[in-house]
Amino acid sequence: MTLAAATAHPRSATGARIEYTSVSKKFGDTTVLTGLNLTVEPGEFVALLGPSGCGKTTALRILAGFETASSGTLTVDGRDVLPVPAHRRGIGMVFQSYSLFPNLSVADNVSFGLVVRREGKAKRVAKLTSLLDLVGLPGFADRFPAQLSGGQQQRVALARALAVEPRVLLLDEPLSALDARVRASLREEIRNLQLRLGITMLFVTHDQDEALAMADRVAVMRGGGIEQIDRPGVLYDQPSTDFVARFVGTTNQLAVARGAAVPELWAPHQDGDRDLLYVRPELLLLEASERGSAHIVSHLYRGATTRITAKIEGDISHGSSEIKVDVPSASVTELPIGLRVQVRLTGRPALRMEA
C-alpha cells in the first residue's frame, strides 16, 4: 500500500504495448474471432465488454498462449508472441474461478512463480510480505485456499500473478463470482493497483458498470470483432452504432422527422422520412401537461434519482412505446403515476441515425 511496494516492481513500472492485428480464430466451422484489431498502450487499462459468446475470453486466451490464433499477428512490445509457449510469455492471468493451488498455502501460492524461476528465499519472503500487504491480506500467509472467502482468494490470485512482475496482466471476469459489495471494493483496488504499478491490463467483463468505472478505454465487442473502442465517457455520450448505444447504458429510441438540426419531438413525419434518436434517460424532461402525449406508468426508486417509465403515443415510438426517464428523487412527488406529461429533450442525443 506504500510507495515501497510500488518500487518493488521496477520492471513493471511501465507495462508493455499489446497489438492484435487481424487476429482470427476458428473452432472447426465456427468463427469466433473475425479479424480482431486492438492496440493497448503501455500501462493502459482496457476493458473488453460484450455479450456472452462474443469472443472476449478467446481473445484473452490467445494472448496468454492457451489458444492458438487461426490467422493474424499478435505482438507484445513489438515482438511476435504467437510462436512463444505460454510459460515463456511473461503474461500474468487471473481467472474467474480463482484457480489457487488447493494443496498450497497462501504463501506457497504467491511464491509459486518465484520458486519456478528459482529466486532466492530472501527475495521470496520479502516479495510475499509486500504483496500480501498490497492486496490487503497481511497475516494470511499460512492459510489454505479453502479457508478463504471468494474475495480473499481472488486477492491472493492477484498477488500470485503480480509476484513475477508481469508487464501485462489479463483478467477474465475476475469479479463475476463475487457478491456486489466485495465486487465494488475489489474493482477500485484493482484499478488503484494498476495505476500504481503501471502494468498494462486487459480486463474481460460483461458488466458494463465495471467496464465504465475501471477502464481507460472500453472495447465493445460483438460477434468476434470490436464494434467501438473509446474512453468510457465517449462511449456513453457518443456511441457510434446502434449496438453500442443500446448495449452500453440505457437508451430510449425515439423516431423524429428527418432534417431538423434541433430535433423536435412529435413533429409530423412519414415512415420513410424519419431519423432515430438514441437518448439517455437523464436527457429527457417530463412536464405535467393536459395536452401531453405521454403518461406516467411506474416509478423505480434508485436513491438519488428515480427512474420513471412513461407510455408514449403517436408515431414517435420505435419498437417500444415506453420511455425511461431519470429524475431527481426529490421531484417525484410532482410526477405521480397516471399523470399526463409532455416530453422534452434537454441535451444532445447520444446517437442520431436514419431509421
Binding site: 510459460h87 500474468g92 509459486f112 479457508q147 513475477v164
Partner: protein
C-alpha cells in the same frame, strides 16, 4: 481416498442402515477374511504330532529358489509401478486437457483387461511371441521377442501387469482429475512460468496424490499375487515358486503365502495412512468450515 473421507462425512448424518445391522455386516466380512487366514496361520505353526513350530517359515526362506523368486518379483513390482505411473498420469492429464472427446474410447480400451481372462491374455501373448521368434534366429522380430522375454528383466511381464491394472488405474485417475479444476490450475501455473514437466510435478501430482497412491498400491498387490500370466510366460515369481514348493513342502508354502499376505495388508494400511495425509489442505479446510 480423499473423496471417501469427504463422503463418509457427508453421509454421517443420514443413517441408511440401522446401526446394529451395519455392525453385523462388518463382523461378517471380517470373519470371511479372517477365518481362512487364521486357519492357515494355525496350520503353518502347529503340527499335531510335534506341537508349535516355526520350522515351515525357516524352510520356506531357506529354499534355494526363494531369493531368486523374491528379487524377480520385487524387480517386476518396482518396474511396473514406475512404468504404470509414468505412462498413465501424463496420458490421463493429456486426455482431460487436450482430447476429452477420446475419453470414452480410452475408457473402453482400458476396460478390456477386465473382461478378458488373464489366461487368454497370456495365451495370446505366448502365441505372438512364438510367431515372432519363428522368423528365425537373428531376425528383427525374433530379437524383439527375445528382448521382451529377457529372463533377468521380464519386460513382457511388466507390460502385461501394466495392462492388467489399467481398468482400475483409469477409473481412479479419471475420478481424481475430475475433482480438481485441472484446466485452470494448469493454465495458472503456465502463466506463472512453469513448464509442462513442472506443472505435472508441482501442481497436478500433489492434487491427485490420493488416486496415485491408490494406483501404486493396487499395482503392488497385483504384482505380488499374480500367478496365471507369470506361470504361462514361464517366470518364477513368488506365487509361481510357492505353488512349486507346495508339492514338496506344503506347510512351508502356506507359511510363505501368509507372509506375502501380511505384507500386502501392511502395504494397504500404509497406503491408506499416506493417502489420508496426502490432503492436509482439504482436511484442514473441512475443519475450518466447521468452526
Amino acid at each position: 481416498m480423499v473423496q471417501m473421507r469427504q463422503s463418509t462425512r457427508a453421509t454421517r448424518g443420514i443413517r441408511v442402515v440401522a446401526p446394529g445391522l451395519s455392525w453385523a455386516l462388518i463382523i461378517l466380512v471380517a470373519l470371511y477374511i479372517a477365518v481362512p487366514m487364521l486357519c492357515a496361520l494355525a496350520f503353518s505353526i502347529y503340527v499335531p504330532t510335534t506341537g508349535f513350530t516355526f520350522v515351515p517359515y525357516l524352510e520356506s526362506v531357506r529354499d534355494p529358489g526363494f531369493f531368486g523368486a523374491l528379487s524377480l518379483t520385487l524387480l517386476i513390482t518396482v518396474l511396473t509401478v514406475v512404468g504404470l505411473l509414468a505412462i498413465m498420469v501424463p496420458t490421463m492429464v493429456y486426455l482431460h486437457l487436450k482430447a476429452p472427446r477420446w475419453r470414452p474410447v480410452i475408457e473402453i480400451v482400458c476396460t478390456i483387461p477386465l473382461v478378458v481372462p488373464s489366461i487368454a491374455l497370456a495365451a495370446g501373448l505366448v502365441t505372438v511371441l512364438r510367431s515372432m521368434a519363428s522368423f528365425g534366429r537373428g531376425s528383427v522380430p525374433a530379437q524383439i521377442s527375445q528382448l521382451l522375454q529377457n529372463p533377468d528383466l521380464p519386460i513382457v511381464l511388466v507390460g502385461s501387469y501394466i495392462v492388467l491394472t489399467l481398468p482400475f488405474v483409469f477409473r481412479s485417475l479419471d475420478a481424481g482429475l475430475r475433482t480438481i479444476d485441472l484446466r485452470t490450475l494448469v493454465e495458472s501455473a503456465h502463466s506463472l512460468g512453469a513448464s509442462g514437466a513442472t506443472v505435472l510435478r508441482r501442481v497436478i501430482l500433489p492434487n491427485v496424490k490420493g488416486p496415485v497412491i491408490f494406483c501404486a498400491f493396487f499395482c503392488i498387490a497385483l504384482c505380488l499375487g499374480e500367478f496365471t500370466m507369470a506361470v504361462t510366460l514361464g517366470y518364477r515369481t513368488l506365487p509361481v515358486w510357492l505353488t512349486q514348493i507346495a508339492g514338496s513342502n506344503f506347510r512351508a508354502s502356506i507359511s510363505m503365502s501368509l507372509l506375502i499376505n501380511a505384507l500386502t495388508w501392511a502395504l494397504l494400511i500404509a497406503m491408506t495412512v499416506l493417502a489420508g495425509r496426502a490432503a492436509p489442505a482439504r482436511v484442514l479446510a473441512l475443519k475450518g468450515h466447521k468452526s
